[in-house]
Amino acid sequence: MSTLELTSVSRWFGNVVAVNDVTMTIGPGVTGLLGPNGAGKSTLLAMMSGFLAPSSGTVTLDGAPVWRNPSIYSQIGIVPEAEALYDAMTAGQFVEANARLHGLPQPREAARAAIDAVDMTFAVDRTVGTFSKGMKQRIKMATALVHSPAVLLLDEPFNGMDPRQRMHLLELLHRLGDEGRTVLFSSHILEEVEDIAGTIEVVVAGRQAASGDFRSIRRLMTQRPHQYAISSSDNRALAAAIIADGTADAVSVSADAVVVQASNFGAFVHALPRLALSHDIELHDVTPADESLESVFTYLVSR
């Protein structure tokens, strides 16, 4: 049972505040750190893995500080971002070297077990320099697991993976979470996080936007009203019709567009063509507003 605690953690680089007063507890099981690019996920992970000091606040693992405390690495497994490995070694030698650096009593066996766990047994005697990106990623995973750590930190591990690799990693992380380990991975794709994370921590622009299981996060996101920009042959008449109809929450008119906010967008998209037809209005353009994760996240923060 290992718990990572972040207490009022902030990190700034000169004038840029990358992480702003974040407090969270990461416990056993799989936790997903969700947020758009530039939200501060990597900075948070760097601080949690002891490679970056918080500008203020503390990061502790079971009460012990993570910064300037190398002994913590026997309990933390990190999947590094670095593309480069020790290219001249074989997979087996490389993972075994990592095992020895951890001071494990049986480094060769531990290395073998880790390589088996990531399905790389077939390549154990092949030189790392010859590996594909996906294979290197799995070897990196093996080095993060070889010492059987209680905590595993992964930064955007699904990036660039094909569906089969994704499935493998999902299964692996799921298994590790079931074993009671504390697994934290970051992503900017909600679906990735939903698949296995028991808890989701949403981070936007350095702030903690939401925290909870994926159902509650989904609910928060879908509560967000949908926006549409409509241009037609008679915007004012259309706007009046929409208001009268009642499927929209808010309607605003300008010279070139009618902007509609509708939380019950299902009913609205059915009503719109009906209204246009019955009022003899031609619809030129119906554009849903920015559906990017960014805007969703921003909405979550502003709540």
């Binding site: 760097a46 490679f51 913590i72 690495y73 990190i78 001249a88 070297a97 951890h102 930190l153 930064d155």
Partner: protein, 241 residues
Amino acid sequence: MNAVVMRLALQAVVGRRRVWLLVALVAVLLVVAFLTRWGSGGREESTAAMMVNFGIGTLVPVMCLLIGTGVIAPEIEDGSVVYVLAKPLRRGAIAASKLVVAQLVALVFTVGAVVLATEVAGDADGQLAAAFAVTTALASLTYTTVFFAVAILSKSPTISGLLYALVWEGSLAGYVPGVRDLSVRQWALAPAERMLEDVYTVNVHSDVSITMGALLMVATMVVALVLAVRRLARLNVRVAD
């Protein structure tokens, strides 16, 4: 000190292309030594002048730069140093392990090259070789430590190191009085001056006393090592983009 770190460091500095560069530098020194002999007929004054200015003054620091940075700079640059740092090892132990390997390799290359070149160029009963061996050993220890620290502290260790090695030590320390007092070359030459006192044909001179030179070298190494370990403990190997 950690045996695995040492083994990895040895592979890094001797296993890569870098080692051929070192061999090439040794070859250059030997060629120059041969030319010196050819031009001077093997007179020890010429040997001494060439060794002090070129061999010890320029080539030795450059070789120590290659070796001192070679045990750590490539890994910091490509991020693979994380595999050593994300382990329950004291940063001082990591630094010491890498540095010891660098020192041993540097000693072999530098002292070996200098002694060989001295004999090729023309010696006086091995006295020059002995004196320069001592100088080179001391210089090598100091330079390697300094460049090891530079590799950790600087974003472009090779450039900074080359500038220092070629401009400060290789050139200025040969004739600018103020610079001479602050150069490793002069500190390391102090024992050689004493050892070659009786060889009246040769005029090897050092601006500092042996004691002063030794003190300065030790102080430099200690400061470099302390700074290096401190920085290593704070190194942010970005976990991600």
